[in-house]
Amino acid sequence: MKTLSTSLSLALAYLREKPLATILNILLLGLGVGTIIALALTLAQLEEGMDRDAAGIDLVIGAKGSPLQLILSTVFHIDIPTGNVPVSDAAAVIASPMVKQAIPLALGDSYKTFRIVGTNAAYVQLYGASVLSGRMWNAPQEAVIGAEVARVTGLVAGMTFTGSHGLTEGGSGHADHPYTVVGVLKPAGSVIDRVILTAIESVWQVHGHADAANSVSAVAEKLAKDHDHDHRQADKDEGKEVTAYLIQYATPLAAASFPRRVNAGSTLQAAAPALEVARLFNLLGVGIAALKVFALVMMLCAALGIFVGLTNALNERRADLALLRLLGASPAMVFLTVLTQGIALGVAGVILGLLIGHAGTEWIGATLEKTHRIALTGFTLIREEFWIAAGAFGLALLAGVFPAWRAYRSAVPVLLSRT
């Protein structure tokens, strides 16, 4: 124990003696570890969040265009929609016996970058959300807001607001069609926290389809209970449009044929969230892999820096090593003193890396929250971090072993003869 404490205090004194080299080595290792950790934290939370947001949605049906855009806009609400589709066109498709539930979405407006989603009660049930204060909407122009919306905008039940076109602030507004907040949802940890929900009729009303009685909600809700739909409903839906339907299959077998049938046989597009999310991560994968390689190179450079630093220090401090031996230090203690410098640099680099990684993720989260309403936090831990930290520490340790071994093997007379 005494040997350990003596080695540690001597190693720290040596590191303090060369502050610039020490700080640079720690910084380099910290930046490498931090970059990889920030990437890992971001990816893990994005994947987890996307999985959660897309849970229970087997397919999305909307206007033709980019399937990824359709999913991003209707499931995650972070992109503009591909367009709208006539309710009458979709009615026959969602009436298929392979469809268990079709939740309509009418998008287009937002309030302070939070999307206004015209839908029905099934959307709230899909995310298992419930009302924290107030009640659910039961008439057009009534709105229920997600927990995050309430936190950021300060809206509470009883307050009114008007939506504006698009997803960004500053779009032209609908001052003549104000919404009244009637309820606030409990935090659900999913995308529903970040949207403003209203009856689909509200969206039609705001955009000039006043005949709310012919509601597509009614069609969809009825469909959920009974597939024996009335073809005359299609006539009533003439002129109405929705952005998309979130589909739940009646049977898993539907995944094999239903999307193909929709894409081939209608003016609609069908996209599966699971496939598109996987495709998104594949697309991101190249960039992420490049960043990971860059961070890995930084870590290797740091390890090399530690190795070169310790080897140079070893050559410069031959006199010190000889002196330690003359004063009674064993070869093992000399080994430990040199190795402890590598260990100390490794520990400091890993700690700095963890701080950089988590602070960086928090910063990315704050930025993304403002611009894309993506929830990301640095105040979380993932198992992958342990392996990253262990790997970085192992590299630093390895960088210290060779110089330490050389110090261990050096005979005192040889050390003395070279000083």
Binding site: K2, T6, S9, L10, A13, Y14, R16, E17, A319, D320, A322, L323, L324, R325, L326, L327, G328, A329, S330, P331, A332, M333, V412, P413, L416, T419
Partner: protein, 213 residues
């Protein structure tokens, strides 16, 4: 008797550098090892301190035969019983003076005692230097600290290798006086190896080594 050498042959690898039939040094004696460069003075000091192994013969220090000790035991023995003053290996630059002396106590396996450290430095007029780094000292001050380090563990034997070769006449004699005073104060036996003839007259015993052929 502190040092008892018989039929010694020592060197590096298999090559003998020094040969000594017999040398006995009593407790408290001040002995000068004199001889030209390359005659084996440093090697003999290395043998006495357990740094170098003997090729033949027997070396007993303070009752312990060095050849019976393992490398680790010799390291510990040296830290505890032998004080060393080297010509160039003075102080660790990364540590303050007090930490240099504390390190010497830690490595010798004795309890760290700041009182002893301060006392040793006071005797050498260095009490104010406790928190300074070696680079902040003059050469003379650094050498006095090295002497303090050699005596704080109260060694039975102090070995000094060319302690005066880099000093001018005045500092040379002052350094030797200091070594004598400290060895006497701590009851230690002193062996100085040098080719410096200026200090010959100060020693009651001079052992001249001849180059080994």
């Amino acid at each position: 008797m502190v040092v008892d050498i018989r039929d010694l042959k020592a060197g590096y690898g298999t090559k003998a550098v020094v040969s000594l039939a017999s040398l006995q040094i009593e407790t408290g004696e001040h002995t000068l090892l004199l001889g030209p460069s390359g005659c084996g003075k440093t090697t003999l000091l290395n043998v006495l301190s357990g740094i170098a192994s003997t090729l033949a013969g027997r070396v007993v220090i303070n009752g312990t035969a060095l050849e019976t000790l393992s490398v680790g035991d010799r390291d510990r023995f040296r830290g505890k019983h032998i004080g060393l003053v080297m010509q160039r290996l003075h102080l660790i630059s990364a540590l303050t003076i007090s930490k240099n002396l504390r390190l010497a106590q830690q490595l010798a396996g004795v309890s760290v005692n700041d009182g002893i450290i301060l006392g040793a430095l006071e005797k050498l007029g260095l009490a104010a230097m406790l928190d300074r780094y070696p680079r902040e000292l003059s050469q003379g001050e650094a050498q006095r600290v090295a002497i303090a380090r050699a005596v704080i563990n109260r060694p039975a034997l102090i070995l000094a290798d060319e302690p005066t070769s880099a000093l001018d006449d005045a500092n040379c004699l002052a350094a030797i006086d200091l070594l004598f005073d400290q060895a006497t104060a701590y009851g230690a036996t002193l062996i100085v190896a040098t080719h410096d003839q200026r200090i010959k007259a100060r020693f009651e015993r001079v052992v001249t080594l001849e180059p080994y052929l």
